[in-house]
């Protein structure tokens, strides 16, 4: 096919396209990143490509908590020192890091990989909610702490899950109000998050 006048060569257009699909990357940024790739030494670009391949090949979701891990079950789920009666439910793997930084939580986690977002068409069936229910049917868990973000969608998710768990006789709690409405958990400082964990309330 003859190259269109003024159009980017096919490999360039292809990478721009790929970058554009990433969250938070607009068409302009996608172009900038692509031309940056053209300028850097080949080994640097290949190292990036290799890192992406390894990321996909060497990580899996933990079959217990759904966190991203190199070994299944993950380190936290395998750790005998952790309290198996309490599960902290988070939206994303990054939120686990935020809670771990507080050093105040010693139970296990469950990653939903998203949040109920009705206007985007994301419902409970698109999240790892069924995996959570299956996990809880074992009967050894007594408390589930909902650590979804303190915003409308996080609250909706927390209320919905609590609706499913309460009839199972499980205590469902929610991080306390110390976290400002509308903020992201991953930005919370340790002190605030620790306090929110300690002062959690029943849903």
């Amino acid at each position: 096919m003859p190259e269109q006048l003024g159009a980017a060569p096919a490999p360039v257009a292809k990478l721009i396209d790929a970058f554009h699909k990433l969250p938070g990357i607009g068409p302009k940024s996608a172009q900038r990143l692509t031309y940056h790739m053209l300028r850097i030494p080949p080994e640097e670009a290949l190292a990036l490509a290799q890192a992406i391949i390894e990321l996909k090949e060497k990580t899996v979701l933990c079959s217990v908590c759904q966190n991203v891990t190199e070994s299944d079950p993950c380190n936290i789920c395998r750790d005998d020192a952790r309290d198996r009666a309490v599960i902290c439910v988070v939206e994303e793997p990054l939120d686990i890091l935020a809670v771990e930084r507080t050093r105040g939580f010693h139970g296990l986690y469950h990653v939903l990989h998203g949040v109920i977002s009705p206007m985007d068409g994301v419902g409970p069936e698109d999240l790892k909610v069924n995996e959570l229910l299956t996990r809880l049917r074992g009967g050894s868990v007594t408390e589930v702490i909902m650590a979804t973000n303190p915003n409308l969608e996080g609250e909706a998710t927390s209320m919905y899950i609590s609706r499913l768990l309460t009839p199972m006789g499980i205590r469902v709690t929610r991080l306390a109000r110390g976290l400002p409405m509308g903020s992201d958990l991953e930005y919370a400082d340790e002190v605030t998050l620790s306090r929110a964990l300690e002062n959690r309330q029943d849903v």
Binding site: P23, G24, I116, P118, M119, D120, G121, G123, P124, E125, N151, L152, E155, A156, M159, Y160, R163, L164, P167, L179, P180, M181, G182, S183, D184, Y187, A188, D189, T192
Partner: protein, 269 residues
């Protein structure tokens, strides 16, 4: 048309928000003065942001916005009405989000329409306060369709133009209203609509909300109205309405009050 200033102030309802970059969000607002407006609110996902609590969806707030090159920027915001009752109750919240999604999909940006602002505000208030809130959603759908120029035909058959009789007729989204039994075809109107439902649709269209709210609408009749209006809404919009899926999910999983009360009664004292 109101003069476009570099900085402007208006009350608005937050219809939705989406993440932008690392810490920002783009809001879709329905403003009282300028119609629908997309605006960036910076740093709002950081825990120190003073604006975060005021820009959640379903919030009515006073906004100060600065004209930007592509998107306007929120420079100040103060909540007027947080509609807390909509946040603490999934049933009410899901309907309120549906109302917001409809207004978002029915309107273009920067087309001032105070009536629509008022309509959404009234609907959110009704959803937040009334025991029977489904009728508020039906009233809203009808009012929105009417305001956007899609008033459905409820008096005469859309095909033969004969006056409708009070028997079971058929609903046609493509025809924009009710079709009589002799004119209906399998392609355009498969769903029968009861005489009662047509009567209620007329009341929703011509009556005030207080008139409609006085009528007892059972679940079956509400379902009939809901299906007909949603079918029509989808036909007009030529796309799906996403937030209805969550309403359906909640209905499937509804904690039955009767069951809870029975269970409480059964429990040993």
């Amino acid at each position: 048309m109101p003069q476009q200033l570099r900085v402007y102030v208006t009350p608005a309802i937050v219809l939705r928000q989406r993440k932008l970059g690392d810490a920002d969000k783009i809001l879709t607002l329905y403003t009282a003065t300028f119609g629908k407006v997309d605006a960036v609110v910076k740093g709002v996902r950081k825990t120190k942001s003073r604006m975060a609590g005021h820009v959640e969806p379903l919030t009515q707030a006073n906004f100060q916005l600065a004209k930007g090159k592509t998107l306007d920027i929120v420079t100040q915001v103060e909540t007027i009405e947080p509609f807390q009752a909509l946040r603490g109750d999934l049933e009410r919240m899901s309907r309120a989000l549906y109302a917001c999604e409809l207004l978002d999909k029915f309107t273009e940006t920067h087309e001032p329409n105070f009536e629509l602002y008022r309509l959404l505000l009234d609907t959110l208030s009704r959803l937040a306060t009334r025991d029977h809130f489904e009728v508020a959603v039906r009233f809203y759908e009808m009012a929105l369709l009417d305001a956007m120029g899609y008033r459905p035909e409820l008096e005469e058959c859309v095909t033969c133009r004969k006056r409708l009789t009070a028997i079971t007729n058929y609903w046609t989204a493509a025809g924009g209203g009710v079709v009589c039994a002799s004119c209906r075809t399998d392609e355009t109107a498969v769903r029968p609509i009861s005489a009662n439902a047509v009567k209620l649709l007329r009341l929703l269209l011509h009556g005030r909300f207080s008139d409609a709210a006085r009528v007892t609408i059972d679940a079956g009749l509400n379902a009939e109205l809901e299906r007909a209006l949603l079918e029509y809404v989808r036909w007009v919009l030529e796309r799906d309405v996403r937030s209805t899926a969550f309403i359906d999910t909640l209905r499937k999983r509804r904690p039955s009050r009767a069951r809870t009360m029975a269970a409480a009664g059964d429990a040993p004292a």
